[in-house]
């Protein structure tokens, strides 16, 4: 696609068509958490409409309402001027909304044609009319300029091809609205061009394509309209031609940090290294990563969602076996040893891992608090030995962490999110580890507990411990971390002291890999 054609599309942006989708005063609450607040947004036919914003801004929630995954707590959704109730994914399909998620929903053991027609197979004499299915599939594929044999099993297709089949599903049911969630995450250059052609052909057919993405280059390349969400509210919707990269970034960030953070650590340049990561390649085809984690510091791995932070921290924690590279652990007594990538070895070596999903990967919900914490205390004991849970130390710990529970015997599943998270961290504090690897330290935790957890981590570091953390909340990194590493596509693209970091500087590196230019300065 040439640049001029793109410009033409962009210029005709907002005038292209009639209103196809309208969100009016939409609010969505999950329990006490307000994910969307009074959002009103309009999408037109024949338009490629970007929906963008920081992590947790609400863009996925908004699109999930359209996809029927959730229902609005207040407000209404209109399709083609008619109010609709989308009480499930199937209702959304019937209403003409087709979603292509990052996690594709194809069945690998069915062919492309079968996947296309699963649930509404053409029949003949009571049996599936395979010839008709094949014919129709071929027709849809050729309409989308896809060169694909309908009899190929989807397990054999590349991710790019699988995505195209997902798109074809929507076209086959004559969907009017398409939602793409980070479609190019797994694609290479030529495949992205193919996707671009597909999306533009949908646009030509008068469809509305909602495009959720973090990749600014793509947004400016494919989309004619851009909507920005921030903290659950709709900030602005402008034609792409009216915005620059930096303007976009500014619209996305910039709020007051009203959370209470503890003081920063004082690690001078002569601080002792606790962990040395050398040329670590966490997964196949990732870039090698090297950095050092020092005693007394809280180091943050940040960036946009899914850029590789999780893989890096899990590789260091031994939860996944890295493809290459090594992790050296320097103990307090001066000895150093290579950290074997297995959870058992890592725990024995005095490194604690706190996973992001505490319910499925971290806590033993039906067991008591003292059991959940006790398990950490035993990490060095032989399995045949007596289980020693120092009750005094335990209650002291629970008190100092301000865990609200009826007692150490209470089942963890009865605790609130914040208290559960404290118990999980407490497991390692009680175990006496001196290095903590934490994913999402305050996910699903209320504001009060968040602050307490920050204090915990700070105290741990001040005591000579070292903390490596990932979090999707930028404010946490800025408020808590002494040092921040920005990750983009598996690479460390920036390093900055926490005290000097701002949301703009982090987002800029996260989005583009380049340092932030204030918007009064040169355009991207």
């Amino acid at each position: 696609m040439t640049h001029s054609a793109g410009l033409e599309d962009r210029a005709s942006g907002m005038k292209a068509g009639r209103e196809l989708v309208r969100f009016e005063g939409v609010t969505k609450r999950f329990g006490a958490n307000v994910a969307l607040s009074d959002v009103s947004l309009t999408g037109l036919s024949g338009s490629v409409h970007a929906v963008t914003g920081e992590n947790g801004a609400g863009k996925s929630t908004l699109m999930n309402l359209l996809a029927g995954v959730h229902q609005p707590s207040a407000g209404s959704i209109f399709l083609d001027g008619q109010p609709v109730v989308l009480d499930g994914p199937r209702a959304a399909h019937r209403a003409g909304v087709s979603t292509v998620y990052q996690e594709l929903t194809l069945l690998p053991n069915l062919t492309a044609a079968e996947n296309l027609y699963l649930g509404r197979e053409p029949r003949r004499l009571g049996l599936v009319d395979r010839a008709a299915m094949r014919r129709e599939a071929r027709r849809v594929f050729s309409r989308l300029d896809m060169d694909l044999d309908p009899d190929t099993y989807c397990g054999d297709l590349t991710i790019a091809q699988q995505q195209m089949v997902e798109i074809a599903k929507g076209v086959a049911v004559e969907a009017r609205v398409f939602i793409f969630d980070e479609p190019t995450a797994a694609l290479n250059g030529p495949e992205i061009e193919k996707l671009e052609r597909l999306i533009l052909s949908l646009k030509r057919d008068g469809k509305l394509v909602f495009y959720i993405s973090h990749r600014l280059d793509e947004i400016f390349r494919f989309c004619d309209t851009i909507s920005v969400m921030k903290d659950g509210s709709h900030v602005a919707t402008r034609p792409a031609s009216e915005l620059t990269r930096d303007m976009l970034v500014s619209l996305m960030v910039g709020r007051s940090l009203d959370r209470f953070f503890p003081h920063r650590g004082e690690t001078g340049p002569d601080a002792v290294t606790a962990i040395d990561v050398r040329d670590l390649v966490p997964v196949e085809a990732a870039a090698p990563v090297s950095f050092a984690l020092r005693r007394g510091e809280i180091l943050g791995l940040t960036g946009l969602e899914g850029q590789g932070q999780r893989e890096i921290i899990r590789a260091v924690a031994g939860q996944i076996a890295p493809v290459a590279g090594e992790v050296l652990r320097h103990a307090r007594d001066g000895t150093s040893a290579r950290l074997t990538p297995s959870p058992v070895a890592v725990a024995r070596a005095g490194v604690g891992f706190v996973p992001e999903d505490r319910k499925s990967e971290g806590l033993f919900l039906p067991l008591a608090i003292e059991r959940n914490i006790g398990v950490g205390m035993m990490r060095r004991s032989s399995i045949w030995s007596r289980a020693r849970i120092d009750r005094n130390r335990l209650t002291g710990l629970l008190d100092s962490m301000n865990v609200r529970a009826t007692g150490p015997r209470q089942e963890v599943q009865a605790l609130s999110g914040g208290n559960q998270q404290k118990v999980l961290i407490g497991r390692w504090l009680a175990a006496g580890v001196d290095i903590l690897l934490v994913e999402e330290p305050t996910r699903g935790v209320d504001v009060g507990a968040k602050s307490e957890i920050y204090m915990l981590l700070r105290a741990f570091a001040d005591d000579g411990g070292a903390v490596l953390m990932t979090s999707s909340e930028l404010s946490e990194h800025i408020g808590l971390c002494d040092r921040i590493l920005v990750v983009r596509e598996g690479r460390l693209v920036a390093e900055m002291p926490g005290a000097a970091a701002t949301e703009e500087t982090i987002m800029s590196s996260a989005l583009t890999g380049a340092p932030f230019q204030s918007h009064a300065g040169a355009a991207a």
Partner: protein, 319 residues
């Protein structure tokens, strides 16, 4: 927020209802039934005999409950019992009683290791692996016994199986002697805590650095060894080898464990619950026999118990 609170209240009620092992209430009901219809069964002599009869099941139940606590199962007890019975009585293996008993224990350990290999290394389903193993062992033993019939049991085992200590049969005392230390060990040791953790959340156990695979191997070896002990008692009771030994052991132990409050991943009934359930089942079968109901009702009851209990426990964990 409110409907999750409601759900958790209802859950807590269901929890409480199913938490008290059915075995306790069940035993009381059965004793009451016996009092009303077959009071002869309640004579101390018969009761002691029934407890003695329950001892082998009780031992197997210990092994089975360990397996179920870590989300596995062992259905190869029948085959192991037959193998042990044959080793002890066929005369194939030279040596004194000590050697025979050592051989039997070794045999049990190897079966446990073999089971564990398929389950941990190859990740095959425990049910199918242990069923297949049982089939394999049973087939081999019966085939061999065509050439050399099982003979007399070693004197030591006959002594254990048939003698009494001031009126109380030795067998259940041995059962108790193993039961109590094991209960204590599971409660107090690191291994016991790890087993609870694995049952509660295997993924978290792995992530926290608990040696999951190793513990599964250990549990299966232990389970097979308990089957061996069970077979020792059974052979001792009968006084000679038999091809009928331990046929029901696997399914009965499964039913008893579930009745005793232990289910996949949960050790709520402790070690005492399944033990009481072992007695309850044995008493129930005796009661049924006294009413003239035989094998068919036994089987139907076993099946019904397992199905109903499994449904109840699945419903509980299915929030």
């Amino acid at each position: 927020m409110s409907d999750t609170a409601e759900r958790s209240r209802g859950l807590r009620l269901l929890n409480m209802a199913t938490a008290l092992p059915i075995a306790y209430a069940g035993t009381l009901i059965l004793l009451l039934c016996a009092y009303m219809f077959r009071p002869a069964l309640l004579s101390p002599l018969l009761l002691l005999l029934i407890i003695r009869q329950a001892a082998p099941l009780g031992l197997a139940v210990i092994g089975q409950s360990l397996c179920m606590r870590i989300l596995s199962i062992d259905l190869s007890f029948g085959g192991v019992a037959m193998g042990v019975s044959y080793i002890l009585t066929s005369g194939y293996i030279p040596g004194g009683e000590g050697a025979l008993i050592a051989c039997a224990l070794l045999f049990g350990a190897m079966v446990g290791l073999a089971n564990a290999f398929f389950i941990v290394r190859l990740r095959a389903s425990s049910v199918i692996v242990t069923l297949a193993m049982g089939l394999l062992l049973t087939g081999i033993v019966i085939a061999f016994s065509q050439f050399r019939a099982p003979g007399d049991a070693p004197a030591l085992l006959k002594y254990i199986g048939q003698s009494r200590v001031s009126g109380v049969p030795l067998a259940p005392l041995i059962w108790l002697a193993l039961l109590i230390p094991i209960a204590w060990f599971l409660k107090r040791s690191v291994l016991g805590h790890y087993i609870d953790a694995i049952g509660a959340n295997p993924r978290a156990a792995l992530a926290t650095g608990i040696p999951y695979g190793g513990i599964v191997v250990l549990v299966h070896v232990a389970s097979s060894l308990f089957a061996v002990f069970s077979a020792f008692l059974l052979v001792g009771f009968v006084g000679m080898g038999s091809l009928d030994i331990g046929r029901d052991l696997a399914l009965n132990s499964l039913a008893a464990v579930i009745l005793g409050g232990v289910t996949f991943g949960s050790g709520r009934g402790g070690v005492l619950g399944p033990a009481v359930a072992a007695f309850m089942l044995t008493f129930l079968f005796n009661l049924l026999t006294s009413f003239g109901l035989g094998e068919p009702s036994k089987l139907m009851l076993q099946g019904a118990i397992i199905a109903v209990a499994a449904i109840a426990y699945s419903a509980r964990t299915k929030t």
